[in-house]
């Protein structure tokens, strides 16, 4: 029987799984919105949404990969470049497949994001005058970038077709990484890959929504214009609705996952759906391990979602109820994460409070 202590992967790997999911989801979001074009429901704001999601995508994947390398035993032992051995072999190990996949995704994602940069050489030269050492370099190279301008839109469209399957593959691979181990019967199911795919797209949409709320200053400036406001409202509505749909699908996948586990390994009978392990039988070790993992990734995802909702509510309804909703959202997810990691439910009042918060949160979410 697997023990709790034999989970060799720590928080950096959890962080990687989360960040790779965010990046992959953002890539899929960006590519699909761009390919849908102005005829889609995003209207005139489609390019803005695609642009933001494209800018989001590469960074979390790069940070996640860095966390992964940092966690390597060889890195800790001072062999900082031994991870390059990953590139000496091609085999069917999910990690090897993932390595090559990420090696492809990162540069493609960066180039794709670069195609959204506005190539106005004069702006860069003007900006670089603040830094005298950089100015000659920028003055020399910035005009040359203009040569690529005629090819930018075509390249962007072509890459959009590439990043969607790459994003899906990255999201699926992270699930396969966990699901490919028969020694972990609870994870050893294709449903994990499905769960990770849905989860990462949901997270990518949420990240886009969050960044859109945080950094889109023009939207606030043009909020007075009813036409712009209507367009922005529709884009936000679509993103929120997409997120909610994917959250629903994620819950369905979690249900299937637990049902499958119950029918195969039978340990789920020791806990209630949702990971509420009962006191005394909280030693259903596989469930606990799973809870810790889901909670680990879920914790990061939840904070992102809670922050998204917090920003949205603070922008849309800067009232007491908005602040209350923010607190409830954060408290709910942090509590769920801690409960999963600890592997036990403790205080009954707190549990009831959490249920109330859940219900209230869903209701509030539907009202946004």
């Amino acid at each position: 029987m697997m023990g709790y202590e034999d989970i060799a992967w720590g928080m950096p790997v959890v962080l990687y799984l989360f960040l790779a999911g965010v990046g992959a989801g953002a890539l899929v979001t960006s590519g699909s919105v761009l390919l849908r074009g102005p005829t889609g429901h995003f209207g005139r704001s489609y390019r803005e949404v695609a642009r933001l999601a494209a800018f989001i995508a590469p960074l979390p994947i790069i940070i996640g990969c860095a966390a992964l390398v940092f966690k390597l035993g060889s890195f800790h032992a001072g062999n900082y470049f031994r991870f390059l051995n990953l590139y000496t072999v091609i085999n069917l190990s999910p990690m090897s497949v993932g390595t090559w996949l990420l090696t492809l995704v990162i540069p493609v994602g960066l180039v794709y994001a670069a195609t959204f940069v506005t190539w106005d050489a004069n702006d860069y030269v003007r900006w670089s005058r603040r830094m005298p050492r950089v100015e000659p370099f920028v003055a020399r190279w910035a005009p040359r970038l203009l040569r690529f301008e005629p090819y930018r839109a075509g390249t962007q469209h072509l890459l959009a077709w590439v990043v969607v399957p790459l994003g899906i593959a990255t999201a699926v691979y992270t699930g396969v990484l966990l699901g490919a181990m028969p020694s972990r019967p609870f994870w050893n199911t294709p449903i994990v890959a499905l769960l990770f795919l849905i989860s990462s797209i949901s997270t990518g949409v949420a990240a886009t929504l969050l960044l859109r709320a945080l950094f889109n200053l023009r939207r606030r400036r043009d909020a007075a214009d009813p036409v712009n406001a209507a367009i922005e409202h529709e884009a936000n509505y679509l993103l929120s609705a997409t997120d909610i749909v994917f959250i629903g699908l994620e819950l369905l996948a979690v249900f299937l996952f637990l049902m499958y586990a119950h029918l195969t390994i039978g340990n789920v009978q020791a806990c209630r759906i949702g990971g509420f392990a009962r006191r005394g039988v909280g030693r259903a070790v596989l469930v606990r391990i799973h809870c810790a993992w889901i909670a680990g990734t879920g914790c990061c995802r939840a904070l992102l979602r809670a922050a998204t909702l917090a920003v949205r509510t603070s922008l849309c309804e800067p009232t007491g109820s908005g602040c209350l909703y923010m607190c409830i959202g954060i408290a709910r997810w942090v509590h769920a994460a801690l409960r999963g990691i600890a592997g036990r439910t403790d205080h009954r009042p707190y549990r009831h409070l959490t249920r109330l918060c859940n219900g209230y949160g869903i209701w509030r979410y539907s009202q946004c």
Binding site: F75, A77, L86
Partner: protein, 260 residues
């Protein structure tokens, strides 16, 4: 072919087929040279055919007294860092008074015929030696990603902090290649451990395996085909005994307090 050449050739043969295929398909001239070398080596092997061995271990728990001599011998043989273990002995206490029992379960790498740790290794740093069946790790290739640790159903692997690579029992292959028994076998005071070639029907281990009915392996449901066998093992599971309201205590005698 000398013994050393034979070993290294066999080791490469067990380790590199995937890499060789990759090289052959991608790198032209270099691959041609490698392929030629490989062909020459295989021809040399066919000239001097010798039966492949498949080493295994049989542990008679009726003779084990739980003295940890095997654990200590392993520690000293490989200078295993503090806090880590290649081989250990678990104490199992079970039953309700007056029907109680205590047994021991020595643990070591099972050197599976179909090891999951090998399948998941992304760098090809671990492989099954074709000439002996021993699951080998090359610490110079291993990057310490811990995927094998996660995949091993027996929890036998650990990261050696000295070089940052995965480490585990290797049946003392440096001794076995010289015809000497592993350190744990040699030091066992109760002669509970029998080591030998499972492919040789005349070996002691093969004969004992055929004679005993109470032979089992750990977690056979994993389908890894372990090559470490036990006579009279107690496979008590904490969950099963909990359902039966039976007392069970397992002392792992290592850093990980829960049984894997």
């Amino acid at each position: 072919m000398s013994e050393k050449e034979s070993r290294s050739g066999a080791g490469d043969g067990g380790h590199n087929p995937k890499r060789r295929r990759f090289l052959q398909s991608t790198v032209g001239a270099a691959a041609g040279t490698a392929a030629a070398g490989m062909t020459a080596a295989s021809e040399e092997d066919t000239e001097t055919p010798r039966p492949k061995k498949r080493y295994g271990m049989l542990i008679d728990l009726n003779r084990c007294i739980g003295c940890h001599a095997c654990s200590v011998a392993c520690k000293s043989e490989f200078d295993v860092p503090l806090g880590e273990t290649r081989s250990w002995v678990e104490y199992i206490e079970r039953g309700n008074y007056p029907h109680v029992s205590r047994s021991f379960l020595p643990r070591l790498c099972n050197h599976c015929s179909e090891p999951q740790c090998v399948d998941v290794c992304p760098t090809g740093a671990t492989w099954v030696r074709e000439d002996t069946g021993i699951v080998h790790i090359d610490p110079d290739i291993c990057i310490g990603c811990k995927y094998c640790m996660m995949a091993c159903p027996y929890g036998m692997r650990f990261i050696n902090p000295m070089h940052g690579s995965a480490d585990k029992c290797n049946f003392c292959e440096h001794r076995v290649d010289q015809g000497v028994d592993p350190a744990c076998v040699q030091t066992c005071v109760g002669h509970a451990r029998i080591f030998g070639d499972l492919n040789d029907p005349d070996s002691t281990i093969s004969q004992m395996l055929s004679e005993n009915n109470d032979v089992s392996v750990l977690r056979p449901e994993m389908g890894t085909k372990p090559n470490v066998f036990y006579i009279g093992a107690d496979h008590s599971d904490p969950n099963t005994t909990a359902v039966a309201a039976q007392y069970l205590r397992i002392d792992t005698n290592r850093r990980q307090k829960e049984r894997v």
